[in-house]
Amino acid sequence: MSDNTTHFGYEQVDVDAKQNRVRGVFDSVASNYDVMNDLMSMGVHRLWKRFTIDLSGVRQGHQVLDLASGTGDLALRFARLVGREGHVVMSDINAAMLEQGRIRLLDEGVVGNVDFVQINAETIPFPDNSFNCITIAFGLRNVTDKSKALAEMYRVLKPGGRALILEFSKPIYKPLSAIYDIYSFKILPKIGKLVAKDEDSYRYLAESIRMHPGQEELKGMMETVGFERCDYHNMTGGIVAAHRGFKF
């Protein structure tokens, strides 16, 4: 990878162009995002997110930043956990996804302790030491400069706070890896074509997963920017991992 290019799935693109390409993908999938998530993961993504909530330690009165919120699966539950005295910032770089999330939270009756902000995770517009917990679920792999995003997350975290990164990772069992590859590259794009009428976006999603750092590499990246007591929890044989790091 040269200084001016980065990966967009298996394709090499200009660094400046990646954000627009990712935006294009999520503009396309926004309206079917929840349905496709359920179809692609057979509903298991809800269990992955529930486990992430358990790891978060979020409680009443906390300040939480949810990056790449999408349609608000995590933000919704955080808003209920922090109560009236707490606050959740639901954010996404993609306006279409953020709008879907905002509508969903309003439909669920969750108002008053949530703000909706369009944010690029590489430049988080909040002061240092602002949040008790920061989460990013299935979003880090779409960020152009992951280290910069991790550094920003560390900066805006309060001392004693923690960051959680839920993301696709590397399967730990070889047979599972083979099945996963077939599923990702052969079946998922076909589901995307059938349901969302967009095969290419779902092919990108599968490719971007393969280009994302594995468990140990991502843990190392977190430690490099300053996170301490970093650990990760493999889920569904390592297909997904939840990384956690603290700021002391």
Binding site: V44, L47, R50, F51, I53, D54, R59, Q60, R80, L81
Partner: protein, 205 residues
């Protein structure tokens, strides 16, 4: 992470909220508990769950680092907490312990007891008013019969054990026997004291 156990928690959360939704005022009454965390530790099966009342939903979590109160007991003793008399007995006998805010535990118990579901109304949506009325009427009659029959059965068993086969003494007989035991014990203690006094006198002489 155990996906299966989280599936159970998710299913439980869905079931509980569907149940609460049957009482139109349940969520409104739950507002007082908004954001509080009530933990349950099931002794013997090593399972915990945490309930978090919030707007329009009671969340069920597998883990929480700082619950506001934790109610610990065996599954059977915790299930009996729904009965106010049995719950007091369980607490005083140590079968159920509460750590953290006991006021919150009590308030949560009151919330559960206040859930009032009009089953006839819900059945009427499915089967019509007439059938719902008849079904619920029969159900109420059954509950009354069950209570009366349970009481009579208890009386009959009591009479059989105490009077017919007499393998269990009556309460009055047991009380008299225990009084006699107390008298004998006191007499023995008096005798022992007298013997000791005589021994001391003999020694001095």
């Amino acid at each position: 992470m155990n996906e299966f156990s989280h599936l159970i928690y998710a299913g439980l959360e869905t079931a509980i909220n569907q149940y609460l939704a049957l009482d139109p005022l349940a969520y409104e009454r739950m507002q007082r508990l908004d954001g509080k965390v009530i933990g349950f530790d099931f002794r013997g099966i090593d399972v915990s769950l945490y309930l978090v009342p919030s707007v329009n939903q009671l969340m069920v979590l597998a883990d929480h680092e700082r619950p506001d109160c934790v109610i610990e007991g065996t599954p059977w003793s915790l299930a009996r907490m729904s009965d106010s008399q049995a719950s007091s007995q369980s607490l005083f006998a140590g079968e159920v312990t509460i750590s953290g805010s006991t006021a919150l535990a009590h308030e949560f118990g009151q919330f559960l007891a206040s859930i009032d579901i009009d089953w006839e109304e819900h059945l009427a949506h499915i089967a019509g008013d007439l059938i719902a009325y008849q079904v619920m009427g029969r159900w109420r009659k059954y509950l009354v019969w069950k209570q009366a029959a349970g009481y009579l059965l208890g009386q009959d068993v009591d009479d059989y054990l105490h009077e017919t086969v007499a393998i269990v003494p009556a309460r009055e007989d047991v009380t008299l026997f225990l009084h006699d035991v107390d008298y004998v014990r006191d007499d023995v203690e008096r005798l022992a004291a007298r013997v000791q006094r005589l021994q001391v006198l003999r020694k001095n002489n």
